[in-house]
């Protein structure tokens, strides 16, 4: 009986400490956040007043700033295909037998080890209207392309996208370079014997063999776009000009710490969590159906 009991329940007790720890640092705050999202803080002494779904209703139907922020996050999704294509492209190039590939790899990885704050500050200066980028454009006769990148609503978000691309690309390159190195060399040799050219090798061997990494990278980037953009935006534009680069994370920060609407900030963070969850769920479903097809 005793032996049977320990066999049945023993493993659960082994994982109990980690589950308790996880619940303390993850489950408890998540649920606390969920609970808070149904309350509003009253300016009449700071009392928490039950507010039902009103925070959610307001955010989804009335709050134009949240809608704008969500739209900016959607625009940032264009980073995912750009990062994916460029990462694979550069990693394929660097994996070829080119002289000094290791040096190129080291240089290409450099942006990733620079702090986002430093990147933001440096690019803020470079992309100013009187910054070095516009100066260079003017010097080479492309003055008509010189714009006030962070000062005009039309360009600010795209300028941020370029900076993020520059900073985040090396991670993808290293990831895919490692993946390419793990592909069995004999597959390429067989393809060579069959007369496949370089492009066919890339599309029919390299990319299919990288599917697992592609899947991970897409999920990673979805999370990045929705949950790790705050520092870039906060340092470079603070959401401006005129809220044209406000994103959901910045909106959560402003609601919680500047407007003292903790309930609404909690509701928005729950909505953000659900959005990321849906994206990742469909990504997994898509990948599973692809694997089943194979």
């Amino acid at each position: 009986m005793n032996n049977n009991f320990s066999k049945k329940y023993g493993p659960y007790f082994y994982i109990l400490p980690s589950m308790v720890f996880l619940s303390l640092i993850f489950v408890f705050p998540m649920i606390q956040n969920l609970v808070k999202s149904f309350y509003r803080t009253s300016f009449d002494g700071g009392k928490s007043v039950f507010y039902g779904f009103n925070n959610y209703i307001f955010l989804l139907t009335k709050d134009f700033l949240t809608r704008a922020a969500a739209w900016h996050n959607v625009k940032l999704l264009m980073l995912i295909p750009m990062l994916l294509v460029l990462s694979i492209f550069f990693s394929v190039i660097l994996s070829g037998k080119i002289r000094g590939a290791k040096i190129y790899q080291t240089f290409m990885f450099a942006p990733y080890i620079i702090s986002i704050v430093v990147v933001g500050v440096v690019f803020s200066r470079m992309l100013r209207f009187d910054g070095i980028i516009n100066l260079m454009l003017t010097k080479i006769g492309l003055g008509m392309l010189a714009k006030d990148w962070f000062g005009r609503t039309q360009y600010a978000l795209y300028a941020i996208i370029v900076v993020i691309l520059w900073r985040e690309l090396p991670f993808g390159i290293i990831l895919f370079s490692a993946g390419i190195r793990n592909i069995d060399e004999s597959i390429y040799e067989a393809a060579k014997i069959d007369g496949a050219n370089w492009l066919q090798t890339v599309f029919h061997i390299t990319i299919p063999q990288l599917k697992g990494i592609i899947n991970f990278y897409v999920i990673y980037n979805i999370m990045m776009v929705f949950a790790w953009m705050f520092t870039y935006v906060f340092v470079m534009t603070k959401g401006g000009p005129g809220n044209s680069t406000t994103i959901l994370e910045l909106q959560i920060y402003n609601l919680a710490f500047k407007k003292y609407q903790v309930g609404m900030a909690s509701a928005l963070s729950i909505l953000l969590f659900i959005t990321i969850f849906i994206f990742i769920y469909f990504q997994f479903r898509f990948r599973t159906s692809l694997l089943e097809e194979r």
Binding site: K8, Y9, Y12, I15, L16, M19, V20, S23, V27, F28, M30, I31, Q32, L34, V35, K36, Y39, T41, S42, F43, D44, G45, G46, K47, S48, L65, S124, R125, L127, R128, F129, D130, G131, D148, W149, F150, G151, R152, T153, T237, K238, G240, P241, G242, N243, Y253, N254, A256, F257, K258, K259, Y260, Q261, V262
Partner: protein, 452 residues
């Protein structure tokens, strides 16, 4: 898997939920600790300002040491918070109702929102009326008959210009423009001489500084507050000046070419590097940089007046310190804040900070300030406190700034909005704040009754 769910996940979630509900309930008042004078006490003191006044930390240390030498049983644990951290850190403390006994926030609406949220204790419950009658920022920190903060100093802006740029443009460097018309003429001449006439960054909080130039020329602090409460509108002709003048300056090319993409701090550095002629600097930076660049090279001017009345005042934002609602040492915290207004502490501030910070107290011995320039600024700040001219952001809730005034001016400077549209955008944000914060609006109205 079912067993796993049943035995571990479900109970954990239930316990977490119960805990979360418990935490969501209303906060409890901290019981004040009764203690004898000899019992050792630690006061936790959060402060801000090293970025604004380099060297302030040394003064804070000296201030705390001076207090401790008089009260040997009291130790003061001080913790500096940067401008970006001050509000989020305090908000985190309010969530757990623990942390500092004395904290700081920008004076005015930022601090009063915390009063209304129940996170601040009234200092007037512990300090006599006679003592507080000397605090020149007292009326701004008063709500519902009680005083809620003690001001360490005030933040003030000064308009400065390069004299050699004026010479280049054929202007008299000793006679800076006084009226708006003269200011615009000077800008035109400076532009023709190849200088960026006015350097002010509009990214981030830049438009806030722009507002000081114009908003108060047409209205008092009390009248500005009426626009928040809905008695008047941002689209009223007098309130439109800050938008129409921004448009005029932009259209004529008098702003620095990168104005729209410069932060306020960056624009000051740009001016310091000679990238423009006139800027609007915080007092602390002005004092330091004028000495650094040479007093014969930099001049100080009043804000250009839109009427014929010269502008003889400065707008201020107080550095307000207060007792937290949860502090178990409220009386002691009040005693420490009161100590800041002692002759010893005020002299210490003037001497150690080289008069770049001035305590707002009518007992301040101005004769200690020998330098005429610093004396002029100190008197200007003193007059600002007495007159009660408060910075726009001290009076406007963050939502109104964040969704209204700041983006409206940014879009105007970027050329995307007309002055009328910018005013309407600010008006809409103000109306939204009123709708979303009915309790805060009522409290705001009560507070505004005491503002001149």
């Amino acid at each position: 898997m079912k067993k796993f769910l049943l035995f571990f996940i479900v109970p954990l979630v239930i316990v977490s939920f119960a805990g979360a509900l418990l935490f969501a309930s209303d906060k409890e008042e901290a019981e004040p600790e009764a203690m004898s004078k000899e019992e050792p006490v630690e006061l936790v003191f959060w402060w801000y300002g090293e970025e604004d006044a380099p060297g302030l930390s040394k003064y804070i240390d000296a201030l705390c040491d001076a207090y401790t030498s008089k009260n040997p049983n009291v130790t003061i644990a001080r913790s500096h918070h940067s401008a970006a951290e001050t509000v989020p850190d305090f908000m985190a403390a309010t969530e757990v109702q623990s942390g500092p006994d004395i904290a700081t926030l920008w004076g005015g609406v930022t601090q009063f929102e915390q009063v209304w949220l129940g996170n601040v204790a009234p200092i007037s419950d512990y300090v006599s009326d006679e003592e507080m009658s000397h605090w020149t920022g007292r009326s701004f920190a008063t709500y519902d008959g009680k005083v809620w903060a003690s001001d360490m100093a005030g933040n003030m802006f000064v308009m400065v210009y390069y004299k050699d740029h004026f010479r280049d443009a054929g202007l008299d460097p000793e006679k800076p423009p006084v009226t708006w018309k003269e200011f615009m003429n000077a800008c035109e001449k400076l532009k023709r001489a190849g200088h960026a006439p006015f350097v002010l960054g509009f990214k981030g909080w830049g438009p806030d500084a722009w507002s000081f130039l114009f908003v108060y020329q047409s209205m008092t602090s009390a009248e500005l507050m009426e626009m928040i409460t809905g008695k008047s509108s941002w689209t009223d002709p007098d309130a439109m000046w800050s938008f129409t003048k921004a448009k005029e300056m932009k259209d004529k090319g008098y702003f620095h070419p990168a104005a729209a993409s410069l932060e306020l701090g960056e624009s000051w550095q740009e001016w310091r590097a000679g990238g423009g002629t006139i800027t609007y600097l915080p007092m602390m930076s002005a004092i330091t940089w004028i000495d650094e660049l040479g007093r014969d090279k930099v001049g100080i001017m009043n804000l250009p007046t839109l009427t014929n009345e010269p502008i003889d005042y400065q707008v201020l934002m107080p550095y307000s310190y207060f007792i937290t609602g949860w502090s178990p040492h409220k009386e002691l915290a009040a005693d420490f804040l009161k100590f800041w207004h002692s002759q010893e502490a005020m002299n210490l501030m003037v001497d150690m900070l080289n008069a770049s910070f001035i305590p707002p107290d009518d007992r301040l011995d101005m004769s200690r300030i020998k330098d005429p320039l610093k004396k002029q600024m100190a008197e200007s700040m003193d007059a600002g406190f007495k007159r009660g001219m408060w910075m726009t952001s001290s009076l406007m809730p963050f939502a109104v700034m964040d969704e209204g005034y700041l983006p409206a001016v940014q879009l105007l400077v970027a050329g995307d909005l007309t002055p009328k549209e910018a005013a309407q955008m600010t008006e809409d944000a103000t109306a939204r704040w009123r709708e979303m914060n009915p309790e805060a609006l009522e409290k705001f109205k009560i507070w505004s009754q005491g503002i001149k």
